[in-house]
């Protein structure tokens, strides 16, 4: 196995006409790290991946692989591995020929090729598949062959472009864990592009959330999920409840008291962020699984509009007089509802975040 190398992007940018596909962006990916580029379609994540691969030349900036500037190097000389969403297996070759292709391009002899292909097929748990036709394989099998083909040349960096997007849900979840385990075992620096937040949370060490051609936040999955920097990130990572509020007082432990724009004007404590001052208007975001129903210390009361059993949890949609949209609560236990259909909602300590009114949309 080869040594892991870091990947560095220094101020890369790409414009198509007047549209910024990618605003000047810098990013450091550590050796052996798995980073997810997460964002909606058109956010620039694919442009970024294609710049790293060498298919698209950046207007400005540099791409460094293992501290070597590869910005002007052709894709075939960068020593990368890549898996596309469509797998892109060569239809006129067998499974074995597909995997051996990269070795052949490197002038490795037939005996060693056969040996390495066998090893790779064992690694992706498709032993003995050498002579199969690729169009007779299932989606999951094609995916594994594509992965084997990209790994057999010991690439310095592995690029995955929505690699699991074409698989059905069950298979996708299995493959996420398998991909994660394989990446850890090989210790290969990996970038995965995805628009599926669950996939990003599952497979990666770090997530870079992108919007409108720039990275809006990078961080570990838990950090991105629990401490989103703005409204866009909080909403893209999953369901979130957003409340308007005003800052009323600061506390020495970097927390703030926020008066929520809810009936009874409850005041709650929320961890602060930079650039805040008393009486400033803020938005407070809290995940549905953090709100508690019918607990002690209820903060406000709400009317249950609907409830759905989702298997592992119960999802409630609540109506609160005075605010526009519904409030979502996920609870592990079913909730007892009073005759008036009202429940008390308790505010979680330390699980809400706030940002300015204008941050992210």
């Amino acid at each position: 196995m080869m040594e892991s190398v870091p990947l560095t992007l220094r101020g890369i940018a790409k414009r198509y006409g007047t549209a910024h596909a990618l605003k000047p962006t810098s990013l450091d990916i550590e050796a052996g790290e798995m980073l997810a580029l997460l964002g909606p379609s058109g956010c620039g994540k694919t442009t970024m991946l294609r710049i790293i691969a060498g298919f698209t030349a950046p207007d400005t900036g540099q791409v460094l692989i293992g501290n070597i500037d590869v910005t002007d190097l052709a894709p075939n000389r960068r020593g990368l591995g890549m898996v596309f969403q469509s797998y892109s297996l060569f239809p006129h070759m067998t499974v074995g020929e597909n995997i051996a292709y990269g070795l052949k391009m490197r002038g490795i002899n037939a005996a060693e090729r056969a040996h390495k292909v066998r090893d790779m097929l064992d690694l992706v748990r498709l032993p003995g598949f050498e002579d199969r036709q690729v169009n007779h394989l299932s989606g999951g099998q094609q995916q594994r062959v594509a992965l084997a083909r990209s790994l057999v040349t010991d690439p310095k960096v592995l690029l995955l472009d929505e690699p699991l997007g074409a698989l059905d849900r069950q298979l996708r979840e299995n493959m996420q864990f398998e991909l994660r385990a394989m990446q850890k075992r090989l210790g290969i620096t990996t970038i995965i592009v995805t628009h599926d937040q669950e996939e990003a949370l599952t497979v990666s060490d770090r997530i870079a959330v992108m919007q409108n051609g720039e990275i809006v936040q990078t961080g570990a999955p838990t950090e991105i999920y629990e401490r989103p920097r703005n409204r866009f990130v909080s909403e893209f990572l999953g369901t979130v409840n957003i409340f308007d509020g005003d800052l009323v007082a600061s506390h020495p432990d970097d927390c703030w008291s926020v008066r929520l724009a809810l009936p009874g004007a409850p005041v709650v404590k929320v961890a602060g962020s930079q650039g805040l001052s008393v009486s400033k208007s803020v938005r407070v975001a809290v995940r549905p699984e953090r709100l508690r129903l019918n607990g002690s210390n209820e903060t406000f009361r709400a009317c249950i509009r609907s409830s759905v059993f989702r298997g592992s949890y119960h999802a409630y949609e609540l109506d609160i007089a005075g605010i526009g949209g519904p409030v979502y609560v996920h609870s592990n236990e079913p909730v007892e509802v009073g005759d008036d259909g009202m429940v008390g909602v308790a505010w979680p300590q330390g699980h809400a975040v706030m940002f300015g009114r204008d941050d992210g949309r």
Binding site: A74, P91, H92, M105, R106, L159
Partner: protein
């Protein structure tokens, strides 16, 4: 036939089956006018042609002459050689054009397709005759070459083998371009990008991925050009000046000059057989690749 396929005749059949039957009946009856047309204007004339080529007194005399006589055998050979060389030339000229169209032309693609198809709307006679104007002794090419001092006296360019190939390639290369480009269009660029990432340079990508995957288009284009070239006689007639004689030109001559209709019919059948063999090869080729 009509009462057998009538949907009302078999009431004991299950409904679903009956619906399928009547659907099939509908599709056959809609095709009837075309089938009748083909029967009267294609199948019957071909059968008549076969009958005409086999005179009662000595049924195989025409075929024996065609395939036994060295002169005629040479013409049969020429009928294979000229279209084959034309197909190769069209491929060499047409493939790069098709590749450019699909990979680099972008929004100009539609314009190129238009420019390829537009000449097909002009009569082949006009286009072929144009070459005699250009290449003639007092033609444009000779005039230019002598103006630039490249030649002292006019060069004979019409009535040569080269002129025939020039005419054929000019008329038929659009078919090659369109056949190849339609297949190239279907090749996923990601395949080429995957090969590139795996270490293949541009030439290797082309030789190991693009070219093998476009073999279908190449085969279709070559067979199309071959069949069309073997059936055409205008280029040979107008540009060859007797230097290049193929079966189709000979048929034309047998019909209009010698009026040996039986012999012409026999040659027509040999030519038809040649085309059918090509079609069979193409079908086999396509089926083998599972397209």
């Amino acid at each position: 036939m009509s009462d057998e396929t009538c949907p009302g005749v078999a009431p004991e059949e299950p409904a679903a089956f009956r619906r399928e039957r009547s659907f099939r009946l509908a599709s056959v009856s809609w095709a009837m006018p075309a089938l009748i047309f083909l029967l009267i204007f294609l199948v019957l004339p071909l059968l008549a042609n076969i009958a005409r080529s086999l005179p009662l007194e000595d049924p195989f005399q025409h075929y024996a002459r065609l395939l036994g006589d060295a002169y005629y055998l040479g013409i049969v050979r020429q009928t294979i050689k000229v279209p084959a060389l034309t197909a190769v030339a069209c491929l060499i000229i047409g493939y790069p054009v098709a590749y450019f169209m699909v990979r680099h032309a972008g929004r100009w693609n539609a314009l190129i397709v238009f420019l390829l198809i537009a000449p097909l709307l002009t009569s082949t006679i006009m286009r072929t005759f144009g070459w005699t104007v250009l290449l003639g002794r007092r033609g444009l090419v000779n005039a230019w070459m002598s103006d630039f001092g490249m030649i002292d006296k006019a060069v004979n360019m019409v009535n040569t083998e080269w002129a025939v190939y020039l005419g054929l390639v000019h008329v038929l290369s659009p078919f090659m371009v369109l056949s190849v480009s339609s297949v190239l269009q279907g090749i996923d660029r990601r395949l080429e990008e995957s090969a590139q990432i795996l270490g293949a340079g541009r030439l290797r990508v082309f030789l190991t991925i693009t070219l093998p995957l476009s073999l279908d288009g190449i085969a279709t284009g070559c067979i199309l050009v071959f069949v069309l070239a073997s059936g055409s006689f205008l280029s040979m007639l107008l540009l060859g000046g007797g230097k290049v004689t193929t079966l189709s030109l000979l048929i034309y001559q047998q019909f209009t000059l010698t009026q040996d209709i039986g012999f012409a019919a026999a040659m027509g059948n040999v030519l038809l057989l040649l085309s059918l063999i090509c079609m069979a090869i193409q079908l086999r080729f396509l089926r083998r690749r599972g397209v």
